[in-house]
């Protein structure tokens, strides 16, 4: 019961501290609102899953007629036509008429699903780059020279030519750009699937001496190409941002600021133990029979409750004011509880260090440097996706970074099962910090009782 009284008292103290409340509750609300509006353009917008279309320009660097002529010439060369009679060659040439850029434009970009995300225009390269620079489009997709020729070679012959579709993105619209890149990757993967299938058919036919029968197999493959393109459309959700609903700026900063500002609860809690000691209330509690670990546990639970209060306020505010859809409630609750537990452990650790040091330097360093560093590393200020890979990995070192990744996963459609790893990591962090705090408080300062000849006092 002592712990309950200590928690109640600490909560009253924090709730009577207007400055602390402003930092821990008002600041994240204000910053989230400002950042989500200010950086809206850098994120894919999400409004009840209705996604704003990404404008792109497509540059054709190929000459379709020339590519067809080149293909015919190649087919008539001794190497490609060896083993084929004239009828087979004519059939292949007929088939090649079917392979045009319609596969890319009509079957892929204009498909029902992709056109929900992408709006394209065909431009010359210079004009496309101007549009990109002027922020009118999010990306430029450049279809390379010999694009059609390579497709024909890839689909109709045993050969495979590399097709490099280039995507140029606008730096301020990284998420939109990422969507386009992901789509292009998905297109390339679908093409690869067809090409591999084609090669299997040819090799099987050749091995069985079927010769021109392999062509009928390829016709079937060609027939299936359109549906393959549609299969990309079906898998659009898996393509966009790792298969998730795009995260809006409001989504991102609600989670980012929330996970950053719960760290201030740890910082505030980190001061409380030494403040108690300085005010002599710690000593008074010990005299009253409170164990120092009861006092520490009281602080940790207080930090936990404060972090939960911050989280609930941010979730409710962002949901109603910024229309943030947090996703699976159970998953959100799991992340919130584990993040608050991690913050409580961290706060206890900072508190124990501060108490041991006997001054507030550690708590000050934590609040002024470590929290900011964690916020940066964890992606609370800027999405880690736009940072170098090693920075993205460092994000896992920060408590808020782990929590943020978990929240974003749930916001973009993840469920409780998918965030178990993050929840476990946060819980382990909290436990490790709490154990360290206990170890620090248990240790003795040099010279404290070096001449002790009596039994120790269980203070």
């Amino acid at each position: 019961m002592k712990i309950a009284n200590i928690i109640l008292k600490d909560l009253k103290i924090i709730l009577s501290d207007k400055k602390a409340l402003a930092i821990m509750i008002l600041m994240p609300v204000i910053l989230t609102t400002i950042l989500s509006f200010a950086l809206k353009g850098s994120f894919a917008d999400s409004d009840n899953a209705v996604i704003e279309r990404v404008n792109i320009a497509v540059v054709k660097k190929y000459d379709e007629k020339q590519d067809q002529a080149n293909f015919e010439a190649a087919l008539n060369s001794s190497f490609l036509s060896s083993g084929m009679d004239e009828r087979d060659i004519n059939d292949l040439l007929e088939s090649s008429d079917e392979i045009t850029d319609e596969i890319f434009f009509d079957d892929f970009l204009d498909s029902e699903k992709v056109s929900e995300f992408i709006s394209y225009r065909i431009e010359e390269q210079d004009q496309a780059l101007k549009l990109l620079k002027s922020d009118e489009i999010s990306a430029v997709v450049i279809l390379p020279e010999k694009f059609i020729y390579d497709m024909k070679i890839n689909f109709l012959t045993p050969l495979r030519n590399k097709i490099n579709i280039e995507v140029l993105t606008h730096t301020d619209k990284s998420i939109s750009g990422q969507i386009v890149k992901s789509l292009m990757d998905a297109y390339a993967n679908a093409m690869s699937t067809v090409i591999i299938g084609k090669n299997v058919v040819i090799e099987t036919a050749m091995a069985n001496g079927a010769g021109s029968d392999s062509l009928s197999g390829m016709y079937e493959l060609m027939e299936g190409m359109s549906s393959t393109m549609k299969s990309i459309e079906v898998n659009m959700d898996d393509v966009v941002l790792d298969g998730r609903k795009p995260v809006s700026s409001a989504d991102y900063y609600a989670a980012g600021m929330m996970t950053m500002f719960i760290l201030f609860a740890a910082g505030h809690g980190g001061r409380m133990l030494l403040e108690e000691k300085d005010n002599q209330t710690y000593q008074r509690m010990v005299v009253a029979g409170a164990d120092k670990f009861e006092i520490l546990a009281g602080k940790a639970i207080t930090i936990f409750i404060i972090a939960i209060i911050q989280t609930v306020i941010m979730i409710v505010y962002s949901h109603f004011a910024l229309k943030v859809q947090w996703g699976d409630r159970i998953a959100v609750a799991m992340i919130s509880i584990s993040a608050a537990a991690a913050v409580a452990g961290l706060g206890s650790f900072v508190g124990a260090l501060t108490y041991r040091a006997g001054n507030y330097k550690m708590a000050n360093i934590f609040e002024s440097a470590i929290v900011q560093g964690m916020a940066l590393l964890g992606g609370s200020f800027f999405p880690l996706d736009v940072m170098p890979e090693f920075m993205q990995r460092l994000g896992f070192l920060s408590l808020n970074g782990v929590a943020l990744k978990a929240y974003l996963k749930v916001i973009s459609g993840g469920n409780a099962k998918e965030i178990l790893g993050y929840v476990s990591a946060l819980t382990v962090m909290g436990a490790v910090f709490a154990i360290l705090a206990v170890m620090i408080l248990t240790g003795r300062r040099n010279g404290y009782a070096e001449h002790n000849k009596t039994k120790s006092i269980k203070a």
């Binding site: 002592k2 009577s16 209330t281 009253a288 009782a449 001449h451 000849k453 203070a459």
Partner: protein, 309 residues
């Protein structure tokens, strides 16, 4: 009731307490008198189970509190030298918290808060935040927080530092009233008058040691031969001191700033003789003050320095 036995405690090789021993009888007001740094608070901290001594022990009813701190904690109320309260909480919230830490709940807690607020005279101000209180009120609620669980022993460590005379009197009267109700009180102070006023048993401490102990009269008897006479003359020099020292019965004469301080045995007859000597030398008396022996004199006698040095 409480026996302190041969306590030693050092901090970074500075000896705070050296071989302190004393006994506190049930129902008494026990005074620890000494200047700042004498070791009073260290001794109190050991009794309160906050500090572990380097050696020595403290016994409550014959049982060591070092082995079992719990036996004294439940019977002890401590009024720390500093205001050990939560300034942003109200007086009521503070009392409620400290009462609950001592295990009081519900109606019993409310009843005790009401009783204690009567004792400390803060009824009607309990809803205010403690940081809005005057220094005296803070001191009083600091005492109140130690009374809620009806302790048998109350330790008051310099409870009147830095407050106005009215609040000081209130605190002294409160301590006496609590003692009349049966509470044993350990009172530390460097104010000689407070200890004289309150305490039945007194230990005088200096530089970590107990230099004298007993009741007030026993201590004063140590210097009963030393009435102090302070004289201010128009002429103050060594020849005046020499002349006054020649008077039989004057044990000591010294020049303290603008005052001649004489210690004499017996005062009435000798005062007349001193005045006669001054007159006979043609010096003019500007003021004369005869002080009966007190604890200040005892301390001065034992240490050669004033209590507030």
């Amino acid at each position: 009731m409480l026996r302190v036995e041969n306590l030693y405690k050092s901090f970074n090789n500075v000896k705070a307490v050296e071989g302190v021993s004393f006994e506190v009888s049930r129902g008494k007001v026990f005074g620890l008198l000494g200047p700042n740094g004498a070791g009073k608070s260290t001794t109190i901290s050991v009794i309160s189970t906050l500090l572990e001594p380097d050696s020595g022990d403290v016994f409550l009813e014959g049982k060591s509190i070092l082995s079992n701190p719990g036996i004294i904690r439940k019977n002890l109320g401590v009024v720390p030298q500093d205001i050990a309260l939560y300034p942003t909480l109200s007086g009521y919230e503070n009392l409620s918290f400290w009462g609950s830490v001592y295990g009081l709940r519900g109606a019993e807690l409310k009843k005790r808060i009401a009783e204690v607020s009567d004792v400390i005279g803060l009824n009607g101000r309990l809803k205010d935040r403690v940081d809005k209180y005057s220094g005296g009120m803070k001191r009083r609620i600091n005492i109140g927080a130690a009374l809620l669980h009806k302790p048998e022993i109350l330790i008051m460590d310099e409870p009147t530092v830095g407050i106005d005379p009215q609040s000081r009197n209130h605190i002294l009267d409160t301590a006496l009233e609590l003692n009349r109700q049966g509470m044993t009180i350990i009172y530390t102070s460097h104010y000689m008058e407070e200890v004289e006023y309150l305490c039945n048993e007194i230990c005088i401490m200096d530089e970590g040691k107990i230099i004298a102990s007993g009741n007030k009269q026993e201590l004063i008897d140590l210097v009963k031969e030393k009435t102090q006479i302070n004289i201010k003359l128009n002429t103050m020099n060594d020849s005046v001191l020499s002349a006054l020292k020649e008077i039989k019965g004057v044990y000591e004469a010294r020049l303290n700033e603008d005052m001649i301080v004489l210690f004499v045995s017996g005062s009435t007859a000798l005062t007349a003789e001193i005045i006669a000597k001054i007159t006979e030398n043609g010096w003019l008396i500007e003021s004369i003050d005869v002080k009966k022996p007190n604890l200040e004199a005892v301390f001065l006698h034992l240490t050669g320095k004033a209590l507030r040095d």
